[in-house]
Symmetry: C2
Subunit: 150 residues, 2 copies
Amino acid sequence: MPRKLSKNDFLPIGDLARRTGLSVSAIRFYEDKGLVQPMRTNGNQRRFLRSDIRRLSFILIAQQLGLALSEIEDELAKLPLGRTPTAKDWREISASIRNQLDRKIAQLTRTRSKLDGCIGCGCLSLSRCKLYNDQDEAAESGPGPRFVLG
Amino acid sequence: MPRKLSKNDFLPIGDLARRTGLSVSAIRFYEDKGLVQPMRTNGNQRRFLRSDIRRLSFILIAQQLGLALSEIEDELAKLPLGRTPTAKDWREISASIRNQLDRKIAQLTRTRSKLDGCIGCGCLSLSRCKLYNDQDEAAESGPGPRFVLG
DNA sequence: ATGCAATCTCAAGCTAAGTTGAGGTCAAGC
DNA sequence: GCTTGACCTCAACTTAGCTTGAGATTGCAT
């Protein structure tokens, strides 16, 4: 016998907000970005599955790890059929996230050691400064490098 | 005898752009933010001092270190009379910047070790997840979710 | 004196990750 | 069946760090 859908299986947006700590507007924003896909009632109101709580929690956690929404979308897209992450998926995804974290830490650490070199020389000379002339690794982040949790 | 100002001591914005690698529009933007203060010709064109090259270079370097323009402004403001940084100033400022770098690295490292804990458990449970519930350091960024998954 | 590149101002646009507000609709309790 | 709170859409605003474009002016070389 297929499990009957009880009323509680369809949550209105406010409930989801209360249970995730997100604001209603943020959830709508995420829907806009394609991160969740609620159904609609006849009256056009959103109805979410319980599993969307988990999906949104994943988004929140990933954000705290310093991933941009677009990166989170990429991670979620790796799941078959936009499924909400299970424990196994989570292990795989975390491994990928860990790589990104590692890279960010390595980047900052390199930068710091270059800075240490510069403190010694005090050169401030563009032609000689390591901080300045290593185009390869430092200048990647585009306008306004964003670091996690300020 | 006071040194006579030769023509080369006043650079038009394009020269400054070529010599720093910044775009003309970015330099104007920085002026707007108060980071440089060029003089004007009778015809209202900007004329920069040679020392502004150094000042802008400092801005570029500090940006690569992950400082926001507002933070850079703060650092530059520590200098008496908006002076361009000398080697000694640079040593002091770098020390301050190094602290900020250290904090960012430490933050990321803590986050990573929490993630490692989570990979093991695969819980994805908001009530238990360390990533999620360390209010002290992680959850500064908004409304704190406190509820368990369904 | 003229031509043309460089410069000027001001306004609008872009990305990220949302928030805020106006004006309108839905659904549930009494 | 009415009221009220939750919900809807759409547009505009926010901060950071710029870029792009329109239309006007300047200044250097010939």
